[in-house]
């Protein structure tokens, strides 16, 4: 029986991507002006999937409102995971909508049709309970690692952290419907049902899982600055060097340095220099003589005249006044209790924050959502959501 449906997991917030996830879940963060989830749907549609079940939870309005009932001719059905109780629990939410073998795909990681095709093919070729995509990556120990004996999966470990792991679980699976019972019968740990735990218990009790090695693109954004490298990767892969939506306005006197994407109804004023490796979201504006490079400018954001933004990520509806300077380069970034050293990041400025005229930011600055920073302030470190910074 060919695989026709896919279950896409899009219920999680992605806490390490805060403050960008204050109003939307990680799958809705933009890479080349479209949500990560849209790239995932593209890969599924390209592989001939004809029915997509989306498991939604955190800020699900944003997913449902954006995609509606259909994507590229493929019907979407939403299944609500009210509480995020693990990936196995998430998969179970889609059970009522699925019959026959199906795919499970993470909605918050970039994947490619090659990976999806490889999993579909390998699953159809055998009798196994499940098929797991595997890519070689030094990141395996940071994500999920897979041990293989030939094509057979012998073990799965989530975030092992240590030891020698080079085979990474790329988050694209094919399963027989029997997997639902398997997940349901695996005891929850700390109230959560993880898919990995269910799969390791399946292996222990004699079920066969097949690993399929692929070379397709797999990328994840763990931290806000990872969005910049994902964006760069996707811009490099695109056939078009410069994509300007027909409804966008790029003034005659503006300079666009490839690769660049300018979204619908966006405006680039005379004298602005945009790019390279920059995306300008829908209805965003870049003011006269502003310089924006290696940066993601999200929907509705306004960059004032003479502002400079390098290596930065803005959220939606951010207001960056005239003469703001975010110079870019390497900085130390604090996320929670952890300091990430030497990260290439100018600043992250989250949704609906206002930076007053002439504000400047040290590399590695994180400004939360709905914050307000007075004229001329020099920022570094972390500004929490909703904080008003005065000089």
């Amino acid at each position: 029986m060919p695989i026709e449906s896919a279950v896409v997991l899009a219920a999680g917030e992605g806490m390490r991507l805060r403050p960008l996830t204050k109003y939307r879940p990680k799958p809705m963060l933009p890479v080349t002006n479209v949500p990560i989830l849209e790239h995932v749907f593209d890969a599924l549609v390209a592989s001939g999937i004809s029915e997509i079940h989306v498991v939604v939870g955190y800020k699900r309005d944003r997913v449902q409102e954006y995609f509606g009932f259909e994507y590229d001719g493929v019907p979407l059905t939403y299944h609500v995971q009210e509480q995020q109780l693990g990936s196995g629990h998430a998969v179970l939410q889609a059970q009522p909508g699925v019959d026959g073998p199906f795919l499970v795909v993470n909605g918050d990681q970039l994947t490619s049709p090659e990976i999806v095709d490889a999993v579909v093919e390998a699953h159809a070729a055998g009798e196994q309970l499940g098929t797991i995509s595997v890519v070689e990556s030094e990141l395996a120990s940071r994500y999920g690692a897979v041990s293989l004996d030939g094509d057979t999966v012998t073990d799965l470990v989530e975030k092992p952290g240590e030891g020698h792991h080079r085979l990474l679980n790329a988050g694209v699976y094919a399963f027989e419907p029997a997997i639902f019972d398997r997940i349901a019968s695996t005891p929850a740990e700390d109230g959560e049902r993880s898919l990995t735990t269910a799969l390791t218990s399946a292996i222990e009790t004699g079920s066969t899982l097949t690993g399929v090695r692929t070379e397709g693109l797999w990328r994840d954004a763990t931290y806000p600055w990872d969005l910049l490298s994902l964006s760069a990767e996707m811009l490099d892969r695109s056939d078009e060097e410069v994509t300007i939506d027909p409804s966008a306005t790029v003034a005659d006197g503006a300079i666009v340095r490839a690769p660049v994407v300018v979204g619908p109804d966006a405006v680039v004023a005379p004298g602005a220099v945009v790019g390279p490796y920059t995306t300008v979201g829908r209805n965003a504006s870049i003011g006269c003589n502003a310089v924006v490079e290696h940066t993601i400018v999200d929907e509705d954001t306004r960059i004032g005249p003479n502002a400079t933004l390098v290596d930065s990520v803005t959220g939606r509806g951010v207001d960056i006044a005239a003469g703001v300077t975010i110079e870019g380069g390497d900085g130390d970034v604090r996320i929670g209790d952890r300091i990430h050293e030497e990260v290439e990041l100018g600043a992250v400025v989250a949704d609906r924050t206002e930076l007053g005229g002439g504000v400047s930011a040290e590399p590695g600055t994180i400004v939360g959502a709905e914050a307000s920073v007075a004229t001329g302030v020099v920022l570094d470190g972390v500004v929490e959501d909703g904080v008003e910074v005065v000089r």
Binding site: V56, Q64, E65, Y66, G68, P264, D265, R316, G317, R352
Partner: protein, 603 residues
């Protein structure tokens, strides 16, 4: 007001196609539903009440056929009963008919037919049609000829679809009532509206008044009123089938409230030029600056029209909004350079069409501001501006009201040339921000409104007040609230309270006060808030916080600060959410409130 579906060319799932079509049309009215299919003879199933009653009837006693017709009814003649539901047949069951509209001369026709021995079983005007067709069959005419002879006897407004036993065809026609033809690969459809068959085809023909169409298994043919064959243009509908589904939301209304940022982006796309500080509405490029403007509209669209008229007056052009149902009774004088603007979401609102026709009859230039491409208003008016909201299924208009406010703002700017002026520049910037501002209202409201509803539920009545641009919002807030909660709600321009309604204010009548900006209207509204608070009414301020309203309010619903009088639109989104949450807490059928229909196609 009713909904029609018909299909031919499906072999074994005709009944499913008809039922799913009816379900997509339920928003047009829902007090009864029925279908008829042909398999040599005609089989009819119809039931009073919701569509599920009909489904149960079909499950209990299945029927099948290769073509058929279906109908959801909203009563105009006779109560909702099984007998009065469509399709209607003649006594012998040779002819089955579904009908939308009113046959005005039905009594005369019925008397005539009864005198000839034809029997009637229902109270409906529709039943004359199958009997009339039967009478021509009895005179020896073939089915097609009998149909066209019957139609020529009808007076009134109608969309009709007719099947005759033993004839592999569906005959249909329209006069002042919507009917759309859908053209699939091997099958053909009729619907009152495109969603009826959108899951099968996107290729449609919008039939004109007086045209008739014959569908057969192998093709279709459209004729004009004089019998001449015509080749009408086939349009491709770009609306996605998705849009007729609920996308994971509990109700269409909630989905449509959340779709507002997207709807506004669509409405504004390509119509703003922030670099030049200009508004460009392409379809209005041949419209001169009017000397004066009259708006005609009903319900929610009327509230949008009040807002539009105010915008014209602000730029020095006399403008007034009229209730369309009152307009024809005592039409105001129309000056030579006066423009009459019909605001109608569906473009099929009978009262608005009638008012526009009255104005046209007096020589006025007309503009339709509508959501539906190819609708009657869009075709009959001299000019049309589309609000680009996408289909709205919930009976209570939400996103289309927001799109109407923005469209009317664009309309005023585009016909009054103020390119580059400070005022226009500021408005363009505010309009560019409005979708994000609405999103911000939606994001921040989570949980807040449920609490408010818990607190205020069970009150005696609910009042809504506002001044200036917020006066239409007060009216709209109350309309939304009453139509879906069934609770008593009234909206007043705030200054009117003391001239009467203040007598109704008690500690059991919460007052929603809309205050945005800090102009004179806002400051005066503060005074009105104090008036009601002094009488013990709980006050909910819907405000951008520019004035310190909090001090006088028991509860506050915040909206972002904005310019250009768009705060009214944002405040209205809060009131939509209040109405929705209150109706949800009361367990109302939110998408289909009792006694109401989405598109009111009778006067």
């Amino acid at each position: 007001m009713c909904g029609i579906i018909a299909c031919i060319g499906h072999t074994d799932d005709t009944v499913d196609v008809l039922l799913s079509g009816l379900s997509s049309l339920e928003y047009r009215g829902y007090d009864s539903a029925g279908i008829a299919v042909s398999n040599g003879k005609l089989d009819v199933r119809k039931r009073e009440g919701e569509l599920d009653n009909l489904r149960d009837a079909v499950d209990a006693d299945p029927i099948s056929g290769t073509f058929g017709i279906g109908h959801t009814r909203w009563s105009t003649h006779g109560p909702p009963t099984d007998e009065n539901a469509h399709p209607h047949t003649d006594a012998d069951g040779r002819v089955a008919v579904v009908h939308n509209g009113i046959i005005e001369n039905y009594q005369e026709l019925r008397d005539e037919l009864e005198a000839d021995g034809y029997e009637f079983v229902s109270d409906t005007d529709t039943e004359v049609v199958p009997n009339l067709v039967a009478s021509f069959l009895d005179e020896g005419y073939d089915a097609a000829e009998s149909f066209s002879r019957a139609v020529s006897r009808l007076e009134g407004s109608y969309a009709l679809a007719v099947i005759v036993a033993g004839e592999d065809a569906i005959f249909a026609t329209r006069q002042d009532s919507p009917l759309v033809l859908g053209i699939g690969d091997d099958a053909y459809y009729l619907g009152s509206d495109v969603p009826a068959f959108l899951s099968y085809t996107r290729n449609v023909v919008y039939l004109e008044d007086g045209q008739s169409v014959t569908l057969r298994p192998n093709g279709w043919q459209v004729k004009n009123g004089d019998g001449a064959v015509v080749e009408p243009p086939v349009n491709t509908v770009e609306w996605d089938a998705e849009q007729t589904g609920k996308s994971g939301y509990e109700h269409f209304m909630l989905k449509e409230i959340h779709e507002q940022p997207t709807a506004l982006r669509q409405c504004l796309s390509g119509r703003l030029d922030p670099l030049e500080g200009d508004v460009v509405v392409e379809e209005l490029s041949d419209l001169d600056t009017p000397g004066a403007v009259q708006f005609v509209a009903c319900g929610t669209s009327y509230h949008a029209a009040l807002y539009g008229a105010m915008r014209f007056r602000e730029v020095g052009i006399p403008a007034q909004a009229f209730l369309a149902s009152e307009y024809a009774t005592a039409p105001p004088p129309i000056a030579d350079d006066e423009l009459v603007v019909g605001v109608t979401q569906s473009g099929e609102t009978a009262d608005t069409l009638s008012a526009l026709r009255t104005a046209q009859g007096r020589g006025a230039e007309t503009l339709a501001v509508t959501n539906v491409v190819g609708s009657t208003a869009s075709r009959e008016c001299d000019h049309v501006m589309y609000i680009r909201s996408g289909p709205e299924i919930g009976v209570a208009a939400t996103k289309t009201f927001s799109s109407q406010l923005v469209s009317l703002s664009l309309f005023v700017e585009s016909v009054t040339s103020n390119t580059g002026s400070g005022r226009t520049r500021a408005l363009v910037e505010s309009l560019r921000d409005v979708a994000g501002d609405v999103q911000s209202v939606l994001d921040d409201s989570e949980g807040e409104i449920e609490d408010l509803v818990d607190e205020l539920g069970g009150s005696d009545a609910y009042f809504f007040i506002g001044r200036g641009y917020n006066a239409p919002v007060a009216l709209e807030g109350a309309l939304k609230f009453k139509e879906i909660t069934y609770e008593h709600a009234e909206g007043f321009p705030a200054g009117e309270l003391k001239h009467g309604p203040l007598a109704l204010i008690t500690d059991e009548t919460p007052v929603f006060a809309v205050v945005t900006g800090d102009d004179e209207a806002a400051r005066k509204t503060l005074g009105n808030i104090k008036e009601v608070q002094a009488r013990g009414a709980p006050v909910v301020a819907v405000t951008d916080g520019v004035l310190e309203v909090e001090r006088f309010a028991d509860e506050v619903l915040r909206v972002p600060e904005t310019d250009g009088n768009l705060g009214s639109l944002l405040a209205n989104v809060q009131l939509q959410l209040v109405a929705y949450e209150m109706a949800a807490s009361l367990g109302r059928p939110i998408d289909k409130p009792r006694n109401l229909a989405k598109s009111v196609t009778v006067e």
